[in-house]
């Protein structure tokens, strides 16, 4: 069982009203924004389940947008995130989806488009108490929480890539907590997610990209 801190009991310090619908929403969006290069131009949130039903009364919309602007769960600017996003030239929409119900009740899809025209869609789930999970990136099912520093490597599903990744990580003395590979189908695009205690060196992504089978590398510090 993982360590439960006194600050997990008396915390998080957060903008209300709900740890799952407000704080968790901000955390999901905060993780999503780290997966795409700034600046962002457009973001569309599709809300499912309880998120879809109660997002306005819980400020889920403001919290999602606040997270997208980089606000932490205790940042009072979350309340004004619509206005601040407008000032920063970030367009946004909220799309309630009542038809798909076979999902975790607190699920959101975040479609992000940056100024360079790159598009990425991330699915996040709010688990309660401010804890969250990213469960999909584009069309690939993944699983990481942001509680550890995470390295997300997008690569072709082919032999030797994982060996390259672990060799670079061992050069950097990275102690791996979890490592998992997710793929759409054999030989297609795969996502390797490596989670580690502590901060991961910013030079790791560049070194990983030396491998021609690696398409993209994202670093999400804890």
């Amino acid at each position: 069982m993982s360590f439960i801190s006194v600050f997990d009991v008396l915390g998080p310090n957060m903008i209300g009203p709900s740890s799952s619908h407000t704080a968790g929403a901000a955390v999901i969006a905060g993780l999503a924004r780290k997966l795409i290069s700034p600046p962002l131009k457009q973001v569309d949130f599709t809300l499912y389940g309880s998120f879809c039903k109660t997002y306005q009364g819980h400020g889920t919309d403001r919290a999602l947008l606040g997270g997208m602007l980089g606000f932490a769960t205790d940042d009072v600017r979350i309340r004004d995130s619509f206005r601040i996003a407008g000032q920063q030239g970030l367009s946004f929409t909220f799309i309630p989806n009542e038809t798909e119900t076979d999902l975790h009740p607190n699920t959101v899809d975040i479609r992000m488009e940056n100024a360079a025209g790159q598009v990425m869609t991330v699915r996040g789930v709010s688990l309660g108490g401010g804890k969250v999970k990213i469960v999909r990136i584009n069309s690939v099912e993944v699983d990481f929480t942001g509680e550890y520093s995470a390295l997300i490597v997008v690569h072709q599903d082919t032999p030797g890539v994982v060996a390259h990744v672990t060799s670079v990580l061992s050069q950097h003395q990275v102690n791996i907590a979890f490592m998992r590979l997710f793929r759409e189908s054999r030989g297609q695009t795969a996502y390797s997610i490596i989670e580690s205690d502590g901060i991961l060196s910013g030079s790791i992504p560049g070194q990983l990209r030396d491998n021609p089978h690696i398409y993209d590398v994202m670093l999400v510090q804890s």
Binding site: I4, S5, V6, V9, L10, N13, M14, G16, P17, G128
Partner: protein, 289 residues
């Protein structure tokens, strides 16, 4: 320096000859790989936020996002000023603070989840009311928070603090158990009395369902926080008077958890039963129009 149950916590208190708050501080330093200074600073910040959220609405009403609450703490504050309060100054102030924190929470203000956002009023309300009434120092309140944290940790570890899993008894019930235990330590009670008080709260709030109108953390949540702090005071008074609690905290916690899991889904935060399903509540529910 770890404990997995109330009985192990009490054994540590006896062995180290120290109160629950000190055991919890040491546990945090050892297992959290941090220092006494760092945890002190973090808890001071939590206490600051608690004070702010408990006092701002006394003068300025905070309208909620869902529109069901706002201004209740100010009404209570004004009522107390007329010296016609029924509860007496201690409890009157405590319920005022509890209502205030939930008002801030529902208006997208800054609060400390304790242990959840929906139950965030109880612990600050009781500690700050004790401070007003008995002139306790902030340092004493910080000890109270570590004591409360120990009880909340046991509930998170061995049961649940999620309304969706265990009902309101797991949210406001646990918050009130935490507050009662902290109050007993601050008023000079022994560790055994702290957990007796926590056990009594869980007993007296056993079975309380989670039935938020419109699915929002507003109503009846705010009022339940006030009821929670009253329950905490009752239990602390019993324990400090030496009234024995028959059932140990660990057993009461397990009973609460078992009962919570057996509650029908309608009564676990889905807004389909209890208060949420009354005709009047349904007319006020935005999501079902």
């Amino acid at each position: 320096m770890d404990f997995r149950s109330g009985s192990e916590l009490l054994a540590l208190c006896r062995q180290e000859d120290c109160p629950i708050s000190q055991v919890m501080r040491r546990r945090e330093c050892v297992l959290g790989e941090t220092t006494p200074d760092q945890i002190q600073r973090r808890m001071i910040r939590a206490l600051e936020i608690m004070k702010q959220s408990a006092t701002t609405p006394l003068r300025t009403a905070q309208p909620s996002m869902g529109g069901l609450i706002g201004g209740e703490a100010r009404l209570l504050y004004q009522h107390a000023a007329q010296r016609q309060d029924l509860c007496g100054p201690m409890l009157q102030r405590a319920i005022t603070y509890a209502m205030a924190v939930l008002e801030v929470n529902a208006s997208m203000g800054l609060i400390v989840a304790a242990p959840t956002a929906g139950s965030s009023g109880v612990v600050p309300a009781l500690l700050l009311s004790l401070q007003d009434h008995y002139g306790l120092s902030d340092q004493q309140l910080l000890d109270g928070l570590f004591n409360a944290g120990a009880v909340g940790y046991l509930a998170m570890r061995n049961a649940t603090v999620a309304g969706a899993v265990g009902g309101c008894q797991a949210e406001v019930g646990v918050a009130a158990a935490m507050a009662a235990s902290a109050a007993v330590e601050l008023m000079g009670g022994k560790p055994e009395q702290c957990l007796d008080a926590a056990s009594t709260v869980l007993m007296n709030m056993m079975g309380l369902v989670c039935d938020p109108v419109g699915g929002l953390v507003e109503y009846p949540c705010q009022s339940r926080n006030a009821a929670g702090v009253a329950n905490a005071l009752v239990a602390a008074e019993l324990a400090l008077s030496g009234v024995p609690q028959l059932i140990p905290f660990d057993e009461m916690l397990a009973a609460m958890y078992q009962l919570g899991r057996r509650l029908p889904a309608e009564l676990r935060e889905t807004a389909l039963g209890g208060c949420a399903a009354t005709p009047t509540a349904c007319t006020r529910c935005v999501s079902c129009g």
